[in-house]
Amino acid sequence: MNTPRGLVVTGAHVSFGARPGLHGVDLSVARGERVALLGPSGCGKTSLLRAVAGLQPLTSGAIAVDGTEVTGVLPEQRGIVYMHQSPSLFDHLSVIDNVGFPLEVRGTPRRQARERAAALLDRVQLARLAHRASDTLSGGQRHRVALARALAANPAVLLLDEPFAALDPELRAEVRETVLDLLGTAEWAPAVVVVTHDVDEAAAMAHRVAILLDGRLAQVASPEHLLNAPVSVAVARLLGLPNVLTGIRAADGRVSFALDRCDARGAVGQVAVVVRVNAVRFGPPGAGTPARVVSVQHRLAGTIVRVDVAGEQVTGIPAPGLSLAAGDRVGVLVDPGAVHVLDEALGGRDV
């Protein structure tokens, strides 16, 4: 029987006194796979990472790495490296000694540890700074050193807790590319869990995204699937999907909502309808459901238009060549294949 390679978390419960932290979280991450952990502040993302790393005891549940249970094992013996939001470099050590640290504490002779550290620094384009004091590095350089140091430990599991949160947008993209480049190398194929608040970052970095809400995993799916088919209104809202509309399901299974009608079997009554922004097109009046433009935003990725349709706000993109302004009348067309129906009513809103 093959033992699963990578990280397996089973029924993880963590509580802080009377306050619950995590409720029975199950998560598997294969070697070479990257999973982004996404959720609002205080939902338990960091608690989960700390529990996996052995820095926070589990109330119940189990953690296994490459098929071996490590639940009660000391952090240094788990084969799991945890990277904080800040690089947490050891500022009393030089850059090369920081990177060589995991090797030296495992008994690698200093000379060999330094050779390996130098090779890793070369991979993150910092070989020229090997003998600098680590506190003289810039923010981006510190992150890259921290990553090289983490990989020097050759972990089976790498936990990244909001690794780019402290960086400005330009550096963030640069360091993220470095991380993806290094993690993409077959030589190092750890199971990676990345905590982030940023949906775009999660989608860019991860093969799968796990949504954590109130200490429970609400959904684990590929970024594309998640954005197309969130399992709940809460997940859709966390992902920042703007078009979460109210719908009504009739006895024949037809769901009516502000833009269209579609087939979706289920209980009769109120439902929520999620429509991707790029599935909503605004054309000239008469070309679809009538609406009035509320606002127009010009972004690098294109123009985003928000319209009012029978009292509901809908966001989409204008038809090619169509220039719109607030107050204009338009017709709304929806790609029926991009409509996702959730069997729950939107809180506090009437049909």
Partner: protein, 279 residues
């Protein structure tokens, strides 16, 4: 020099001026140009002070007692600081000796540790010694046991205060990261916490050591007459009825000053060579 620098420099000069004037006067007096019996430029005082065996025994004894006391105080302070850093009451209790004057601490040591002191009486009462006088001589003894203990007790509080402040600045996340990188709790202490704690507190440890070299009240009450501690040697020479010997006091004072300055300079050089020390 910019105008912005003038005011702070003037303030520093004003504060340092008594030391500068004092050192200048001491140099002149050591060379026979000032003070009692001053006449002409001479190295007679220098030769007499530095050629005397008493001076070098005093130097050695003073350095040894200061070094042992500082080491004991630092070891105790670091151990305690690591345990009380999260406890306001613990921190308060640990720094209480700061409020006790050195002379009071010396008197307390005398009352407690002399052969007629409380500890000797308690050991006698407990049947550990036939008479109180059989208690080992810890005061005025040639090893300076009571002096070292009193020094250490006083400097302990100062070093605890410093160590707690340094520990408060350390990034505790580093310890956790180090654990997951494969370091045991012991390795984290010796490779991460200790180097940073030592770097942060070493200036205070050096200051405590330098202070003890020149500390007068405690050796006056607890130290033996031979070897003579440097501060006592300076005092004895400075009140010598033979006015011609008083110049030697300035030479010994300059010797003590040189020792401290040398120590501080060596510490500065060591720190400059460390990676990651903010200079």
């Amino acid at each position: 020099m910019t105008r912005r620098n003038v005011a702070p420099l003037a303030a520093v000069l004003l504060i340092a001026s008594p030391v500068i004037v004092g050192v200048a006067y001491t140099i002149l007096a050591a060379l026979g140009l000032r003070g009692a019996g001053a006449s002409e430029l001479t190295v007679r005082h220098v030769a007499a002070a530095l050629g005397g065996w008493d001076t070098w025994r005093g130097v050695g004894w003073t350095l040894a007692t200061a070094a042992v006391a500082t080491a004991v105080a630092a070891a105790a302070a670091f151990t305690v600081a690591l345990r009380v850093q999260q406890s306001p009451l613990g921190r308060l209790l640990a720094v209480l000796p700061l409020a006790v004057p050195h002379v009071a601490a010396a008197l307390a040591a005398l009352l407690l540790l002399s052969q007629s002191g409380w500890v000797s009486r308690l050991t006698h009462a407990a049947g550990l010694t036939p008479t109180p006088a059989d208690f080992p001589a810890l005061v005025y003894d040639r090893f300076g046991v009571s002096l070292v203990l009193a020094f250490a007790w006083k400097e302990f509080a100062y070093l605890v205060l410093t160590a707690v402040a340094v520990l408060g600045t350390l990034d505790r996340a580093s310890d956790e990261v180090a654990r997951t990188l494969g370091a045991s709790a012991r390795q984290v202490f010796w490779r991460i916490t200790w180097p940073q704690l030592w770097r942060g507190t070493s200036p205070a440890v050096i200051a405590a050591f330098a202070f003890l070299i020149g500390q007068y009240e405690m050796p006056a009450l607890l130290a033996p007459s031979t070897p003579t501690a440097l501060p006592l040697l300076i005092y004895e020479r400075s009140v010598d009825p033979n006015l011609l010997r008083r110049g030697e006091a300035y030479v010994v004072a300059l010797l003590a000053l040189t020792l401290c300055a040398g120590l501080i300079a060596a510490h500065g050089i060591w720190r400059r060579r460390l990676p990651g020390v903010t200079r």
